[in-house]
């Protein structure tokens, strides 16, 4: 799938590829070669620059403030397990909204309407309920730092390191792309050279992430969410004012001959012409992809692992579900308003930039740009912290233990964690310009993402609900699932009817991983009850009944 295909078939995997793929598209789309004539900085007044500067300084100050509370590796990676539910929920949502949602998500809504909201509605709520009440309690009670660590305890080391490697590759690549995207955005807004912008972004995010760790990431995310929501709500209000409210929006778009009859419908028929067939939305996105994303993505789940209590962990995930309702309203409806106001826009992804330039006065425009920076920085800091947590938890600690025969001292783990954070950031910043000319980046990232969603969910479910799932069963299920998603992604257009083949790739890889795990588990020796204690559903439920 080319860059242009990605523009045609956006979705969670394509519009933001769970934060990723279209960061590269964002980079190219907001670059001078793609949106000609639309300058993001058009009409930016002094007050706007002041607001942006105050915002950046404020975020850095708040982040650094939390450095005083860092005493151990647990403080650095999990915020000392002291995070309240409201901060967890807000942080999960803001990490989920990338600047690509503001650009490509709104652009897709401009093109095909309300169905875009499925990615944040049916594509989040059932999964968040499962995450809150099934997976989070297990992770939290196991006291793990990372998801691969949990799978390592339930299955074996090979399973742990296989998933950790895939996640690490996925997140490190993402980080570089985020930095590159950030650079192009700053070049457009502030006129900076990309290389300067990369290092400035890396410096700002690096300072508060290295010093303040997860607590800093979460608390700056809270600020970033508020800034984003206020900025977007202002844009929505001005847009509705201009278009004459919801009824005016419906009338204006219905009068356009090019608008689809289903423009204001969430569910579309299962036909080859539809990008978002209901089957893919309900069964694949609603059940497999979203659940795999929320429970199998370290960058999302790490906040819940840092909760001060199990109740806060669960409540935090539910809080994210509340905020999720607002995301399509604030992000996608402005895209639809842009269609009502500017029906023949050449580049649909310019919907929100066009609205900003057309509707927002000085001051509010600066706030909106701050919202864009918030979206960029919240994703960079989240992926940076999670990347280092996996590197430290799943590679450094086990290797140190094997080579020295001792556990890593907490202070050493913290120091190494900070050095790693700085090292990963420097590496990502150094690598970022390499993505300037890579056009097939989307393929690489989307494949990396789909590699772990279906298979990870399959072995997690079996591991929790079925005592008979063995170490080698889980390992085989995961690895076969990885290979299958790799193959099916390559075969996608030749096999699947839908233009959005990735919807079905995830679903089939999930089923295949289930089947392989069950088969291999039945052929290999079962794990002891002692090993499974606290890791399978029965033992956790019985511990509640006992009041323990």
């Amino acid at each position: 799938m080319s860059l242009e295909d990605c523009t045609r078939f956006p979705g969670k995997h394509c519009t933001d590829a769970n934060y990723l793929g279209t960061w590269s598209r964002l980079a190219s789309l907001i670059g001078p070669t793609r949106i000609s004539g639309i300058s993001m900085a058009q009409g930016l007044a002094s007050i706007d620059y002041i607001i942006i500067a105050v915002y950046m300084a404020g975020v850095m100050f708040v982040g650094m403030y939390f450095a005083r509370y860092i005493r151990s590796a647990g403080d650095l990676f999990l915020g000392g397990r002291s995070l309240p539910f409201w901060a967890i929920g807000m942080s999960m949502v803001v990490s989920d909204i990338g600047a690509s949602d503001l650009i490509n998500g709104a652009g897709a809504a401009y093109d095909r309407g309300l169905a875009q909201a499925n990615w944040d509605w049916i594509g989040s709520v059932p999964a968040l309920l499962l995450a809150a009440f099934l997976f989070v309690p297990y992770y939290w009670r196991a006291g793990v730092y990372t998801l691969p660590e949990f799978l390592g305890r339930r299955y074996n080391g090979v399973t742990r390191w296989s998933l950790a490697s895939v996640l690490l590759l996925f997140m490190a690549t993402t980080l570089s792309i985020l930095l590159w995207t950030s650079a192009v955005f700053m070049e457009k807004v502030l006129g900076w050279e990309p290389i300067v912008a990369i290092w400035v972004t890396a410096l700002i995010v690096g300072i508060y992430t290295v010093s303040g760790g997860m607590a800093a990431v979460v608390m700056t995310d809270v600020i970033q969410l508020i800034v984003m929501f206020v900025g977007l709500a202002s844009l929505l209000a001005l847009g509705f004012w201009e278009v004459g409210g919801w009824s005016g929006l419906v009338q204006a778009i219905s009068a356009q001959p090019t608008a689809s009859q289903d423009y204001f419908r969430l569910l579309h028929a299962h036909t080859p012409e539809t990008e978002y067939p209901w089957t893919g939305m309900v069964f694949s996105l609603g059940i497999v992809m979203s659940t795999g994303y929320y429970v199998g993505n370290q960058a999302v789940m790490q906040r819940a692992l840092g909760a001060r209590t199990e109740w806060d962990a669960k409540a935090g995930v539910l809080t994210a579900g509340i905020f999720k309702m607002a995301v399509p309203v604030l992000v996608f409806i402005p895209g639809m308003i842009a269609r009502a106001l500017v029906p023949e826009m050449e580049q649909h992804d310019a919907a929100i930039p066009t609205l900003i330039n057309r509707l927002m006065p000085p001051g509010l425009k600066g706030l909106m740009f701050a919202a864009f920076f918030a979206a960029l920085m919240s994703s960079v800091d989240s992926y940076l912290n999670s990347c280092v947590t996996i590197f430290s938890g799943d590679f450094f600690r086990p290797i140190y233990r094997v080579t020295t025969g001792k556990q890593v001292a907490d202070r050493l783990a913290m120091i190494v964690g900070r050095i790693m954070t700085a090292g990963v950031l420097i590496f990502a910043a150094w690598l970022a310009p390499a993505f300037r000319s890579v056009e097939t980046l989307y393929d690489v990232l989307q494949t990396l993402l789909s590699l772990f969603q279906g298979p990870t969910l399959a072995i997690l479910l079996l591991g929790i609900f079925w005592r008979g799932a063995t170490g080698w069963g889980g390992c085989a299920g995961l690895l076969v699932g990885f290979c299958l998603t790799f193959g099916l992604t390559e075969l996608g257009p030749a096999v699947f009817m839908s233009k959005t083949a990735y919807l079905y790739v995830s679903f089939w890889s999930f089923l295949a991983s289930l089947l392989v795990t069950v088969t291999v588990s039945l052929l290999t020796p079962r794990d002891s009850d002692e090993k499974l204690k606290g890791l399978v559903y029965e033992s956790v439920v019985s511990s509640d009944t006992d009041g323990s």
Partner: protein, 117 residues
């Protein structure tokens, strides 16, 4: 000869795509074998499924969609009170996460009932 381009196709094909304007790109390897041999077989499995799903009325789509939300919510209400409140500083009514879940899910059900048709 220019530098090989880095993409997934290269990895899958065990080959290197040479950026040369005069010679067309030639790729042979695992991906082509999969496409030519596995592709038609998988298509023959997937196609009848697509045809069957395409004949289903949209009312089925609505039932499945709303059903997903309702089933998830009903499952939450089957969970034990001890499990729901575990770790909570108190057992006040507002801390009951089953009520939170209901308040989260109901707006989504209403939205899909209204705009899903």
């Amino acid at each position: 000869m220019t530098a090989p381009s880095w993409n997934l196709q290269c990895v899958l094909n065990h080959s290197v795509v040479i950026a040369d304007a005069e010679t067309p790109e030639e790729t042979t390897g695992v991906a082509d074998v999969m496409r030519n041999i596995l592709g038609p077989h998988l298509k023959s499995i997937q196609q009848p499924i697509d045809e069957w799903l395409g004949e289903l009325p949209m009312s089925v789509a609505m039932v499945c969609c709303i059903g997903l939300f309702v089933v998830a919510l009903l499952w939450v209400w089957t969970l034990k009170r001890d499990f729901i409140f575990r770790g909570a500083p108190g057992t006040e009514r507002w801390r009951d996460l089953r009520i939170w879940a209901t308040l989260v899910v109901i707006p989504y059900i209403l939205v899909y009932l209204w705009w899903g048709r």
